[in-house]
């Protein structure tokens, strides 16, 4: 049996961190695009659109991410597509992110005082002009902190992709733990790597939140 140094463990885990980061970014960016589109639909569309998107949000917020990943993996497979764990994870996480982000952003737009809508309407601005010049600039300021905070959730969510076989940090950890028979060290390292990724972002989000609260007070 070969002897594994701690450095071997750390080095292999570091290589896997790449995939965690890449998957997180794809899900976050993709989810933002889809979430923004959904938000536009929600604001402009009628009751039907709003109810449908509300249902979409409820499904993603009311079911385990693990199940969403399983369904993505096996569901896509059913359509005859040869799906790798990577594609399934990217798709499921993107949709998951889009649901949460559209809800966060909807809340931010809703928190803009009604008077802002009324004043801009009274000045004969069209809906598009209202959104672009009055509502969204204010909503974006409010939305920045929780959106950055959600990135942490996305990074943590990528860990579940390990269950459908995608080799990111957690899966690499499981595999290395099996080979080295040092699960305590390995999983402690895995946890610390996630912490190193997430904690700075959490701190940043907290700073942003403090800033927006101060400016609104």
């Amino acid at each position: 049996m070969t002897e594994f140094t701690s450095w071997d463990i750390v080095r292999n885990l570091l290589l896997a961190v790449r995939w965690t980061v890449v998957l997180s970014l794809i899900a976050f960016v993709g989810g933002s695009v889809v979430g923004a589109a959904l938000l536009a639909l929600r604001l402009r569309g009628g009751k039907v659109a709003q109810r449908c998107i509300g249902g979409y949000v409820q499904v993603f917020q009311g079911t385990p991410l693990l199940m969403q990943l399983f369904l993505g993996y096996f569901g896509l497979g059913l359509l005859g597509l040869d799906v790798s764990p990577w594609t399934a994870a990217a798709l499921a996480l993107t949709l998951y992110t889009s649901a949460y982000l559209t809800e966060i952003w909807r809340g931010c737009v809703a928190s803009i005082p009604k008077g802002q809508w009324e004043a801009s309407t009274s000045l004969a601005l069209s809906f598009g002009e209202q959104m672009r010049h009055v509502i969204l600039p204010q909503a974006v300021k409010i939305a920045t902190a929780p959106t950055v905070g959600f990135l942490v959730q996305v990074i943590k969510g990528t860990a579940l992709a390990s269950v459908i076989g995608f080799v990111e940090l957690t899966k690499a950890g499981s595999m290395i733990a099996n080979v080295t028979f040092r699960p305590f060290t390995v999983f402690a390292c895995v946890a610390l790597f996630y912490f190193a990724l997430c904690f700075p972002i959490s701190l940043f989000a907290k700073t942003l939140e403090r800033k927006t609260n101060v400016s609104r007070a």
Binding site: E118, A119, S120, L123, A124, L125, E129, H133, P137, Q138
Partner: protein, 259 residues
Amino acid sequence: MSAVLETTETTTAVGAPVVRITALRKSFGTNEVLKGIDLDVLRGEVVCIIGKSGSGKSTLLRCINGLEEFQDGSLTVDGKPLLHESAMAMRALRQRVGMIFQGFNLFPHLSVGRNVMLAPTLVKKRSGADAEAQAKKLLTRVGLAEKFDAMPEQLSGGQQQRVAIARALAMEPAVLLCDEITSALDPELVGEVLRVVESLADEGMTLLMVTHEMSFARKVSDRVIFMHQGRVHEMGPPAELFGSPKTPELQQFLSSLHD
């Protein structure tokens, strides 16, 4: 109960009324808030609307610029009827009718100058330079020339409300609706806002004001309307309405103000 009083002073010289309201009815759900309003507002007239809270004053005002939709009756501004379904018609309406709100509603992320410039730039397609010149002129008019680059949060309530007036004036409206514009102000700031409004009245702006400032109404308005339970209860020149109220409801309202 209400009858349209044809004032003899200026009608024939000016022509058709700027705002014509006929048999207007509005309900919120099952609650009927406006129970048939008939009102003509002539160009250059200053009309003050008074009444208890819940009498429908603000709702009436908000119907005139389309912030509230009414169910029955008709409303014409400058000869053009209000069509809720047509976004274009509503946009055209709001270029003729300006509104000042109790809560100012300045855009917090834009400077004072940009607040005033926004609508003319977007809606009237004015060039940046033109809009800026106009904004500076209007801010001077309301006494806030030096605040062009300030942010709304740096201003007092009275100053913010004056900016709101400048912002509405930038669209060169035919009618200005004022919805309790001093009710949210500290008492010592009310005067500066009312002075601006009075100067607008002196220049011939058509004003429709919901207000609690009775002395102001008495001094500046051509006509005062007392609303009660969704109807125009009494209407007439201020001296008449305040001096010799005809109905018990108005008498009660006026005496309650002095408590």
